[in-house]
Symmetry: C2
Subunit: 364 residues, 2 copies
């Protein structure tokens, strides 16, 4: 097992990564509050890992309540916050309870938000079971639900008490979801860690084969890179925005397609390729660097072209994205592999050219 720490003073917490650790009560005990526990999970994950987690918590003599949401992004709603808090209230759960998020990004995001707002804040433990959740959404305290008019538009910064990532749970992850998680992994190399990017170029076959050592390295480096950024800018006052590399384009792709054609990581993969292209157009990176980025995304089997929509539609979705302030769309661009820059000064013509270049055409 490998452990690291998100260094946020009193709100700091450990990330444990290893095989079989879902069954280790000693990892859960220090993160639990004094009262009972509620496990929030979904209909895909519950049949696989719920019993194991219940068993672990009962060894700690905890009362355990379970809320199983329908699998899928549609569950990330205020209606389910009402449902979860209603279940907690019906069970008489007080401020001393702990919520455990057992699942992927959707479960982690809504559970973290439920913990943030139930009785104005209760303890939360993240138990991610997807690669995306392990390398990204379970770490850093961004929680929330979707509004019909925008994804993640209602939420809070709320740190968990611990992240417990049992890599055995990845065995059951469908291939498409596994690859989707790799988009965020590539992102860490690009924004922060040139050596990790090179390592990924050399070892993508082992990663895609889910070899244990390669997986462990991917998750450890990703968590460390994310924890470093979060520790320096918890509330996204500035630096933390670099974690959104590829997300301005990615969110627009998700929005334009109604959030049901692309997995988040797939949209981010296209967004990364576009961000690299835009960075090259603005002479921030060389064509050889852009080609390396394109090749690595391609090697993961992730998509590299966006669906065809009018460019104005894409631009409108970017403006409504929460990174738009004062009417200007902010982009995270690259100054090289391993170095990102945040800017609100991108010529609209360049954005349009990038969209045009990486959009699928019917007769391509």
């Amino acid at each position: 097992m490998h452990s690291l720490r998100v260094d946020l003073g009193q709100r700091g917490y450990p990330i444990h990564i290893g095989t079989g650790i879902l069954a280790d009560p000693a990892l859960f005990a220090p993160a639990l509050s004094t009262g009972p526990v509620a496990i929030i999970t979904d209909s895909n994950v519950a049949p696989l890992y719920l019993e194991a987690l219940q068993k672990t918590l009962r060894k700690l003599e905890k009362d355990v309540l379970t809320v199983t949401l329908a699998a899928g992004e549609a569950s990330k709603s205020l209606a389910n916050i009402q449902e979860i808090t209603g279940r907690l209230l019906s069970a008489g759960y007080g401020r001393d309870c702990t919520l455990c998020a057992l699942g992927g990004g959707v479960v982690g995001d809504i559970t973290g938000f439920a913990a943030a707002v139930y009785q104005r804040g209760v303890a939360c433990i993240q138990v991610p079971t997807s690669l995306l959740a392990m390398v990204d959404s379970s770490v850093g305290g961004k929680t929330g639900v979707n509004h019909p008019l925008g994804k993640n538009m209602i939420g809070a910064f709320y740190q968990p008490r611990a992240v417990i990532a049992d890599t055995d749970t990845l065995d059951s992850l469908p291939d498409r979801e596994f690859r989707s998680g790799l988009a965020e992994v590539i992102k860490y190399g690009l924004i922060n860690d040139q050596g990790f990017f090179s390592w990924l170029e050399d070892h993508m076959d082992a990663v895609l084969a889910r070899e244990a050592d390669a997986l462990a390295k991917v998750i450890q480096y990703s968590c460390k890179d994310k924890a470093d950024v979060v520790a320096r800018d918890e509330l996204e006052g500035g630096l933390r925005a670099i974690l959104n590399l590829g997300h301005t384009f990615g969110h627009a792709i998700e929005a334009a397609t109604g959030y049901d054609q692309y997995l988040h990581g797939e949209a981010v993969a296209i967004g990364i390729v576009m961000a690299a292209d835009l960075s090259r157009r603005l002479d921030l990176i060389r064509e050889s660097e852009q080609n390396r980025i394109y090749a690595l995304v391609k090697a993961t089997g992730l998509p590299t072209f966006a669906p065809a929509f009018p460019i104005d539609d894409y631009l409108a979705f970017m403006r409504v994205d929460k990174k738009a302030e004062g009417g200007r769309v902010r982009f995270i661009l690259l100054r090289g592999i391993g170095s990102a820059v945040i800017t609100g000064d991108v010529p609209p013509a360049a954005i349009a050219q990038t969209l045009q270049a990486f959009m699928e055409h019917e007769h391509a």
Copy 2:
């Protein structure tokens, strides 16, 4: 005008109290974020003060959007959080917007919570127009909405950027609501400020006549007492709970009557009388002190007896109240006028005796 400060370091903020200050752009300017403004208000308050506040904000060249909720406690719902955030999203409001709560406790609570969760947090200014909101709910950052199963069960600690209390707005406050606000005022004297309690005994006639000087004193002292407690314990880790004097009984009365028979302050008034009785039964205060408390509550015209329900019903509502932890109900009791103590060790028999003593009987 009188100004004081809630001392919370980077999250600290000013409270301005005075006549006609709703029209002073200079008080709003430092608290506004860089983007547009949304005023959240209700159907009672909008016809009276909305235009004045819009005018003030437009002097600062701000775009102003208005959301008018139906007046009343039922508006404090997650459904209205969805509605408010939907209006903000439709208008393209980003993280740089500011929400202004123009109204009483309901508007302040839901607006504060909307600000806490919209895009994970935007700026908020509290413009309280009721006595209760001026002396209590607008100060201290407790925000939230109700769940059908419990009041204030979904919320956040989220501090405003400023509280701007224009005492002219109290002129329009119905008598019953004005008196209701005085319950919290009496509370501050009881928990923290013996001199203020004595002053209230001597000047209740002037307060009830809404004499300007008396009102100013009431609001200034209440805000100062609350700000002191909040500065010492922002997240209610311990001390801040003394602000809940009378609220354990009070919330049970509100819950038992479906939240539509008693105003919050009326239920708190009965709760204060009960807490005094319980404190006397446990030999924490003398009978003469209990009598002074009863007399002052009575002098405000607030109720001092609870509606008749089985005692077990009241006890059940207390246990579900968020102050119950580990199954024990916490009470705030008095050790004298001006001094409160928090305890989870109250003999159930004594609670039952107090409920019995201050419950209305059909043939009383």
